[in-house]
Symmetry: D2
Subunit: 343 residues, 4 copies
């Protein structure tokens, strides 16, 4: 790979909905990348995912993808419990790995990945927290960095889905939904969360038996208090709101509506229908920046440490949801390897 | 007072800043009213307040104002601890009383007022919770009544002041600031608050020693969870925000900016400088509706019960602020006299 | 009438929809005023309008209202062609007159009123251009006065009605609809309009045979170019938009929605249903300020000159609509009596 | 080039600011493309533009780029007067050409390009009207297509630049600035413009001698009336506004601010500083879609016909600016080759 127009040859493990989207992006949207190998637990699905992709090999197993000499870097988009094995194999092979969240199925597995990176002496893993690549969140972070609202004191967040599928469990409000707010809180404030408390308001009839919505309270090292509403059956759209309250002012995500429609007695700005509509741009930037970082031989983006912190926070949140009490969040000491964070 | 163009003769007790504003409104803004008598602890200030007001008498004492034969109804705008005596005197005289908040200095005093109204067999007291008269809050209540967002599940509120004077004490965040959110919560949802928890985020340097901001959590009878940010040193303006989260959607107060200015790299909607700018219209409607209700011989607006509930909530909030724990809110059984609420 | 709490006794001529609204406002909303006499071409309607209003006399003729010794000031809300006679009688009697627009049926009649005021040596007439009393328009004027956007160069306006009645004629787009923009243009910029050009876009099917919408171009003495869209069958609501383009920025009327509703895929700010909803506050301020000015013995608000200019502009606009050409607007020299304008 | 992961080898003519940006995008942002050859009037600048780009050849002349066997498609980003020669050479070579605006220096040159395409029997040329690729404009077009506001009757547009360089001539308000509104008008409405009238308001002191702003009126075949403000010295930012007025409602471009900042008395949504910030996304989509269309062997985007129409409109606008009169716009009959337009 030369300096200005290198070409990254990517192997993709897992060719379900998410994996196929990554293949599509790498092929048709991302510059400087090419999908050269894939594997899936269902071989037919793997073959299907690369039909027409000249020169892409289908392997019987994800480990073969990692070890393929023609593969420069690996995307892990398989079932969560398999992540650890593929990520560790990537580290072992010295190949950059982009791993969809969760980094691994348990805190302990995340620690094993961290230890492997420590042993390797460098960061090879990027975790798929795509909000850090969203233009609006980045503008929010820029405002904080500019100091124009002073030190952050509180954040008010809402994470709303129109509906969720029938397999959505109570824990998923933490592990799948609020986990994004856990990560952006840590990233925006550049500090760790030290306590979590999950409160249960009057439930939405639309959610059936599900405890929905939730109000999740987070406290950070510096005492910033963050409230996160998760509403996953609110019907009207996919709506992500976030306001940072500082000493001198506040900054919040804009409405972002491309058009305003005046009809039927109101001026209406459309709200995204789902997360794909809301964050498709972020997914594209995420992949492009990962490919550029791989080509440059540099690490970038959310790290294994961020994946580990998300796992610990999810576990603490689930405990709080079960017990009704505030739960302290305890992370192991942070290795120097993860001292600087980009972006 | 005849049916269509009656004239209400009002006595005003207390001619400080607030009392003088009421005199100005009653004279120059409110239709169908006239200030005919005043009293103040400082007689010179009382005389001054009605200089040029033909026919207005200055009494040595608030009780004389209440008993003045020419006074149809009384506005109490004196120092809080004196409210109880004047309100009870008004009830005793069978005269409608508009009492600025707080209704009285203690829960127990509020109960005595309630008992006096019960003995009198009718509602004579209106408490000055002016937000119920604000056009935007009324629109919010209309949305809830329409059912268009389903049942309310949560509310997110912020009450922000640019700064407060040096005599602002920690308790005042509850008794003076959040007390408005206590009242609008009860009014919007038409149910009682059963628990309060006051959380203390990282303090704002601009507030010096003051614990500011706060995040106050309220739970209602039906499980609606309300979070209230109070920030009383945020510098940028007087900003009141309120979003109701329902089963099918949300409703929030609009920006309300009369103009949008495009200058210096941004499109800016001005934010009110203070509560007078934000709520001057509400104060006018409040007074006009009170005068109309007095002229019609009907009671209207926030009642003694609402004043009592605010006192109980303030006390519970102060306890929570001191102890750091959630505090249950216990109200005495609600008398039938207060069963219906208007507006 | 004494200095601080004077009472203005008002006679109202014309008790149709508009006149009745004025009676209601003067009685129930405006401080310091009382309706003491009325007349209408339909005596039964006049009697009806003051039923229950203690002490209000019903006269057989508008001139009797003007001459009634108990009448301090007159509101003219009768049919347009009758305005001249009543306004002239008011000036003759030395009584302040509030005259609904139009000031008179023709330019010539407006000139006769001006001449009568000149002969009387003082301004007695206020014309009902209520937009000057709207909070948002006043904020726009304040921005201009502040200099924060530099000198005004252009204005973009839209005046939209959901629908109009079947008696709406093509000329009414100028005389009834755009006449408000004529007046606010002159008031905001504090200069005269020197040319008008009426353009006819593709017509709206909803207006049937009516030429609707229009795009009206105005040029002022200083070369400010103003475009005014009139759309009187646009269905969705009553929407008034106005942006001033200055050298350094722009200022426009805000959305003004009291609430924002998130439902059904969009964030919606409601738009007023009609002009009463949009401008009811302006009508109240207008009447209150008129009453205060009458009580103070001062003149205020839009003058006979403003009524005259509106008539000339309407005539020129109708000529442009007929001929398709730009028409120069010629006003007689402006008498010193009208040199200062308030508010 | 195979069907799913073809690679387009691009030659770039002109390596000034715009050309270098295209090279950067093609290399680092666009999937499926590679810059393999360049030329510039300044050979050193050409060499510099591809320093580090493995395998990119530097030719002495743009025509050599077109004829290079390794070049699949050509980007023309050289000085306007040279466009015709390179575009015609591309057509002659049967190679797709992406040509920055203007398509050519004169109407007549545009006609020669059209004739060449007609002779070739297929569309090979795409002109760089990037607004058609902007997400907000596309949403506006979707609204029109949906019929939700009825037939379009008017459009109100503003095109504002904070400032322009000293070489900006009066004609450039038409050829460089308003030309974008000419194109989006034709694209949004899918019909031709038949008349143009350029009006000159009071000039902005910030523009010195320049006649700025302008108000440009366009009339379409169906009578849609479009007003376009061009303000190129307005200081506050780069602001593009566009509202379509339909029979049943309106649709306008949203504010698009990623964040809202509450500070210093206002709620501010940032406005882009320049066209690059506003339209960088559109440039990326434009290039990606062109590359995809080239790879698919299909033509797409703004055509030579669109480039020709822009030239005719610019000429007519300049005539109107000079004469002060409305000018009719006459296009030659539209060849069938350009009957369908994408996107
Ligand atoms: Mg690629
Ligand atoms: Mg009064
Ligand atoms: Mg009155
Ligand atoms: Mg490329």
């Amino acid at each position: 790979m030369d300096s200005m127009n290198p070409h990254v040859r990517v192997g993709v493990i897992g060719t379900g909905v998410i994996g196929k989207e990554h293949i599509r992006r790498l092929t048709h949207v991302t510059a400087g990348a090419e999908v050269v190998a894939v594997a899936d637990v269902d071989p037919a699905r793997a073959r299907d995912a690369v039909a027409g992709l000249t020169g892409a090999r289908v392997h019987a197993d994800g480990l073969e993808v990692v070890r393929d000499d023609q593969v420069d870097a690996v995307v892990v988009a398989s079932w969560g419990p398999t992540h650890e094995e593929y990520v560790l194999a990537g580290i072992d092979a010295g190949k950059p790995v982009f791993c969809e969240k969760p980094l691994a199925a348990t805190q302990e597995a995340c620690v094993r990945i961290i230890d492997a990176e420590l042993a390797a002496g460098r960061r090879l893993v990027q975790v798929g927290f795509m909000r850090r690549y969203d233009a609006a969140y980045r503008a929010l972070k820029d405002v904080l960095a500019s100091g124009s609202i002073g030190l952050p004191l509180m954040m008010h967040c809402a994470h709303r889905n129109p509906s969720v599928s029938s397999h959505y469990t109570p824990d998923m409000a933490l592990t799948d939904t609020a986990v994004h707010e856990f990560d952006v809180t840590r990233w925006l404030l550049d500090e760790e969360i030290v306590a979590i408390n999950v409160l249960t308001p009057r439930p939405n009839r639309r959610g059936g038996e599900l405890q929905d919505p939730l109000l999740i309270l987070l406290e950070t090292e510096n005492g910033v208090l963050v409230d996160v509403e998760t509403s996953v059956n609110i019907g009207y759209g996919y709506d992500i709101r976030h306001e940072v309250v500082g000493e001198d002012g506040t900054a919040e995500l804009g409405a972002g509506s491309p058009v305003v429609l005046r009809r039927d007695g109101g001026a209406t700005g459309p709200i995204p229908a789902d997360w794909e509509e809301r964050f498709s741009g972020a997914y594209e930037v995420e992949m492009q920046e990962w490919v550029h970082s791989v080509a440059a031989g540099a690490s970038s983006g959310p790290t294994s440490w961020d994946g580990y912190a998300a796992a610990v926070l999810s576990d603490a949140g689930m405990e709080s949801l079960r017990t009704g009490a505030k739960v302290a969040v305890k992370l192991r000491p942070k290795p120097d390897l993860y001292a600087t964070r980009t972006p």
